[in-house]
Amino acid sequence: MISEYAFLATGAGLVGLALLRLATSADLLMRVLGLNVLAVGIAMLLLVSGMGASGTDAVPQAFVLTGIVVLVGVTAVLLALAERIAEDRDE
């Protein structure tokens, strides 16, 4: 029970931290990091919600898995864009 609450607080905390960082930073990399942390926090919440007496629900696990894969794709795009922006600024 305590573990659940701890991880729940972690998830909510990660979400809060990430939102705060997003709202206060103009740095491109920080935004990428913040979004990733946000996603991790949400995944944590999903898994915590899925916990039950008979083990963790498989469906939210699948959601989290999907979310992780989606996020790596988006992160790759974000970083590619950020690099191009930096390159264009250098030129």
Partner: protein, 569 residues
Amino acid sequence: MIAIPLWLVPAAPLVLLLAFVLPSMRGVARNLVPLAALPALLTATATPGPLSVRLEWLLLGSEFSLSDTGAAFLFFSSLLWGFAGWQALRLLADDRHRDRFFGCFLLAMTGNFGLLVAQDMASFYSFFSMMSLASWGLVLHGGGAPQRFAGRVYITFAVAGEVALFAGLAIGAYFTGSMALPAMASDGVPPLAIALAAGGLLVKLGAVPLHLWLPLAHSAAPAPASAVLSGAMLKAGLFGLMIILPLGETASPAAATALAAMALAGLILAPVLGLVQADAKATLAYSSIGQMSLMALGLAVALAAPESWPFVAAALILLATAHAFAKAALFLGVPAVWASSRGVSRPAIILALCLPALALAGMPGTGGFKAKEALKSAFAAAPEGWAVWLGLALFCASLGTALLMMRALTLLASTAPKPDVPQDVVFPWLALLLFVGIGFSAAPLPFVDAGVVKLPDVLPVALAVGLGLCAMVLCRVSSLRVEPPAPGEILGLLRQQTAPEPVLALPPPRLPRSRNRGLVLRRARTRLVRPESGSLAILGMTAALTFLALLPDAPTGELTGDRTVATTP
């Protein structure tokens, strides 16, 4: 006589007018102008009178017929238009704008003839305004400053008169439920309607104080135009009044008094103002005012004493005819005088002009005298208390006219000849003079004993001659000079001396406003927004929505009931 369809009377000048549209036809058309009055003349003299015509499709349903009164008016009008047209042909032979003049002339002629045969309000009003507006062109024809001023005054009065007439007729038509013109005189027409219509016609008649346009217009217009203006068109006003006023039925003392007051004012004002004019045509015009006031006086009497109406009517017709011919002869004589050199011909012409002048003044033996006699006898039926001043008024009228005639002839005699006036303008005048002299002296008047000439009958003329001579002597001796007043009487004060603008002065042209008003807002630079402020907004929005979600909702109905989504009502 030849039976001429009644519609041809106004149509003849109109058809001729259409011929002016084609430039190649204009030469012929111009020469036919005097003849345009011929159908009218033939109709007026035809016995038995022509059949009445009803044209349902025309205007609001038109009806034409020729009453006896109408026939009498049509008779002298057609003659006058014919002769005036003839003289105009000669007088304006070299004028650049003659076609414009003839256009207006024919249009006015149409109107004048038409209103005499019209029996319904719409066509009467149509012809009436056709005549009035076309005459504007006649007044303006000369194009000089006096013409412009006269035109301005004329059109103002004419339009105001039209509008009053329109209002009166419209009200009358509504209350009688009939478009027939004589219905105006019937019961049930509100006095306001009659007053309005009569007001419009009195403008045309030149009754004081609605006469202001008249001296200006007459002196400004070319002489033939003045002749028809004074001889024929003023009578249209009289004719209209004779139809629309409830004459011979019930006494209306108030209206009679008002009309009588106007008439008396005119009788007094006309000689006073006319005598001091420097222009012969203006003097003649004032004499017209006097004469028309006399006729208005007749109407006033008939209004006051309905039983006198048959006599008054006859007298008025007579008086109108006499005045028409005499005044036309005088006006047409003016160019004749201009055309004559100072040699022999001028005294001859002046002498000849004395004939219509005397006729006007009511010299015994002339048609004018007979007419006045007829009027005098008709006045016998006037109500108590009117008789005394009626006699005086008649005397004054004769005296005034005589004085005005003397003044006019004197002025004419001293006019400088105008070399650009063609000699042959004399012939139409002469022809008309024959009518006045010959035809009119022998006019059959059953109720007037014309045989005996009494002293009082010649008294006015004699007195006038005496007074005139005295005045002349007095002026010579004391070198007293009468400064002619500005034309237009009180309106003269309004007259701008420098470069008059027509009717309404325009404000100076306004420069186009360059201010570019509108909804367009310019120069909005895209502000540099902090990149993180977007996320801050998201954060705020999320929090706000979360907060909103926690607010207690208004109690909602059944949530999980029917899940059918509603669609358009």
